[in-house]
């Protein structure tokens, strides 16, 4: 099953729509709650990242019995130093985002932590693509 979502930029009120819908669908399909939680968190962090940093983006989800594949694509500014961006606590989020409870530098590390496979490609001035796979055990 394939699900596709557009994440609008700078709109915190709509971040979470994709992860919420995927969570709902996985519940209906009877996936275990710990797998649903991993997918939800990885995807929500991705949505928030796209809202904060990239002016929005695209989420493509492929749900199969064995695994859930998440592909997050944006055409934002790109990440100059991926290693630095992956460090716990490193953040370039502005203060107004921190005031909302985000911007602690945990987005990408959380996405990696909660997915079983994690690939990040980014080019400055072009955009970023994150591919994540979470296995259904």
């Amino acid at each position: 099953m394939t699900l596709n979502f557009v994440v609008p930029g700078d709109d915190f009120t709509r971040a979470g729509e994709a992860s919420g819908a995927v969570k709902q669908k996985m519940k209906q399909l009877g996936f275990p709650s710990d797998v649903i939680r991993k997918v939800s968190i990885a995807l929500y962090e991705g949505e928030i990242n796209m809202v904060i940093h990239a002016g929005g983006g695209q989420v493509d989800v492929e749900i199969s019995q064995d695994a859930i594949d998440l592909v997050l694509t944006d055409h934002g500014p790109g990440i100059a130093d991926i290693e630095q961006a992956m460090q716990d606590g490193f953040s370039t989020a502005p203060d107004h985002v921190r005031d909302l409870g985000f911007g602690a530098g945990m987005g990408l590390p959380n996405m990696k932590k909660y997915s079983d496979e994690f690939h990040l490609e980014s080019e400055v001035g072009v955009g970023t693509t994150v591919r994540m796979r979470i296995y259904n055990h």
């Binding site: 979470g16 939800s40 909302l100 409870g101 985000f102 959380n110």
Partner: protein
């Protein structure tokens, strides 16, 4: 103990929630950093935070907590309330600081 009984026992008011007020509460968790809370708040817990904005509702839904408890007299903004009603996430309000709020919940669910 369910969310509604918890609110009554601890003297919290309910700002949002319908069917969710009947959900059982089995633990209490306290954190304001949303990236932390979404990974660590236990299912069916009462989640205490001062983040009275719409993102807390999304995190509560993803973590599947029983309710959000806004401590320290924090009031939810309009967008949070609207989203909480839409998604039926119970939001309770406590005038007390986070620790005292958590202690009251802990004692209530252990009683």
């Amino acid at each position: 103990m369910n969310v509604k009984e918890l609110a009554r026992t601890c003297g919290f008011s309910a700002a949002a929630g319908n069917a969710s007020l009947q959900r059982p509460v089995t633990s209490v968790y306290c954190c304001d950093l949303l990236s932390f809370a979404m990974g660590r708040a236990p299912e069916d817990s009462a989640w205490i935070t001062v983040m009275g904005n719409i993102n807390s509702v999304a995190v509560a839904s993803l973590a599947d907590v029983a309710c959000i408890v806004l401590s320290d007299g924090v009031q939810p903004d309009e967008a949070m309330l609207t989203k909480a009603q839409q998604q039926d996430i119970a939001v309770l309000l406590s005038d007390r600081p986070a620790f005292e709020t958590g202690l009251a919940i802990h004692e209530a669910i252990r009683a």
